[in-house]
Amino acid sequence: TQLLEQSPQFLSIQEGENLTVYCNSSSVFSSLQWYRQEPGEGPVLLVTVVTGGEVKKLKRLTFQFGDARKDSSLHITAAQPGDTGLYLCAGAPYATDSWGKLQFGSGTQVVVTP
């Protein structure tokens, strides 16, 4: 099992502040995804990063895939209450018999208060 560790587990900040969530592994992944989950709902995909060193921006969210394809980060600029949720990273393994079998991190609960 390829373990993905997320840190911190919980993050509480004020509206307008910045935050960064980390996702680390000792294993290499072919791609890495970030999902956001709101209470009572299933996770929803935010982004997929595929290339080592890749940086993707979605409005105030910036995602980075490590050069070695073992880690990733999610940075939110000027957080808003609507950013509140559980953020999950998920790695796609290289093994051909593991297609689709994403390895999920344990999640980071983000709370943004007005």
Binding site: T1, L4, Q6, S31, Q33, G40, E41, G42, P43, V44, L45, T48, L88, A90, A92, W99, G100, K101, L102, F104, G105, S106, G107
Partner: protein, 111 residues
């Protein structure tokens, strides 16, 4: 309605009973997945299916059975429920990309 649905949304059962959780998707996605979500463990894969009549075990398959006779349905059965199977269960589907689309979840309590 289009999308992926799960039923029931909430279920309370007793130890030893058989329980079946339903999952239905309207996209004709080839791949379907069952996960359980527990505090501190994130999402753990129970079973997955690459196509109708093709299923395989995930990380935590013990105590669960799946079937997939039709592309759109992927039921998960707990043959004899145990308290350790109290969890939130998510079904997901995917086409030939890595993106998985999740259902709203079923909260199962085993007393």
């Amino acid at each position: 309605d289009a999308g992926i649905t799960q039923s029931p949304r909430y279920k309370i059962t007793e130890t030893g009973r058989q329980v079946t959780l339903m999952c239905h998707q309207t996209w004709s996605h080839s791949y379907m997945f069952w996960y359980r979500q527990d505090l501190g463990h994130g999402l753990r894969l129970i079973y997955y299916s690459a196509a109708a009549d093709i299923t395989d075990k995930g990380e935590v398959p013990d105590g669960y059975v799946v079937s997939r006779s039709k592309t759109e349905n992927f039921p998960l059965t707990l043959e004899s429920a145990t308290r350790s199977q109290t969890s939130v269960y998510f079904c997901a589907s995917s086409d030939l990309t890595d993106e998985q689309f999740f259902g709203p979840g079923t909260r199962l309590t085993v007393l």
